[in-house]
């Protein structure tokens, strides 16, 4: 967790990249000096979560719930891909 209350990067259990409602497009610099755009990381996290939900629904859900999660995943991917060139 950094000074701004943004937890991101490597979580040792599970796949958590950003835990924050804090500012969009904040730049976080890690210990190696690399800059991470928090918005970008948050969008990646949303794709991971949507993909995870889809795999779950494919096994346990019905046609409607699978279609709904597929739609959510496509939206999450679109949102992330829309940042192309702004990463």
């Amino acid at each position: 967790m950094d000074d701004e209350g943004i937890e991101l990067g490597i979580a040792h259990e599970g796949v958590l990249w950003v835990k924050s409602d804090l500012p969009v497009r904040t730049i976080y610099t890690d210990e190696d000096g690399a800059d991470y755009d928090v918005t970008h990381i948050r969008l990646r996290y949303e794709v991971i979560e949507a993909a995870k939900a889809l795999v779950h629904e494919q096994r346990h859900g019905d046609e409607t719930s699978v279609a709904a999660t597929e739609w959510k995943l496509a939206k999450a991917v679109d949102a992330l891909e829309a940042t192309e060139g702004r990463e």
Binding site: G9, I10, A11, H12, E13, G14, V15, W17, D32, A34, Y36, H40, R44, Y45, V47, I48, E49, A50, A51, K52, A53, L54, V55, H56, Q58, E70, L73, A74, V77, L80, E81, A82, T83, E84, G85, R86, E87
Partner: protein
Amino acid sequence: MRILGVDPGFANFGWCIARYDGKELVVTGCGVIRTEKDKRKVLAPVDNVERMRRIGDELEQVMLEVSPISNLVERRISIICAESMSHVPHASSAAKLSLAWGVLAEASRVVQVPILQRSPQEIKKAVTGSKKASKAQMKDTLCKQFPSLSEPLGAVVGSLQEHPVDALGAIVACLKDPAIQMGLRGRE
């Protein structure tokens, strides 16, 4: 303890299974789950879902060791060690990589096995002593250190060998992790 190492990717998802008793690490299998973009005119979201399904199905086979005689699951993995997602320069690549991570995250939830993550630099350092080691150095070092890697790695096409190599590297980098140490103690 049976450990799964992974180098998640959407086109090439590297994996490596190893047995570890606290002293010796023996590689029992490795490979690459491959998916390709459908060359026909298929909507990208539809194609992505199909590729995710393929990764999920193959990953499930890798995670469960099924007896060829009884057809029952003999051994499950205890832990997953992964090369963490680096900062991919292009959003479209990041999206594809995130899809692979989503499949992995759900697989780990289903088998109730935690994912330990190490950055590419941490993995290189743990294996070779240098954060900037090349892919060739990684492969040479791991093949020398773990002779059991050579046979399963030989079955992987040369240009794809870096993926199971990185997956084994992730395992090596995680060996001292408290989760693995506790897992070993629990078996004593």
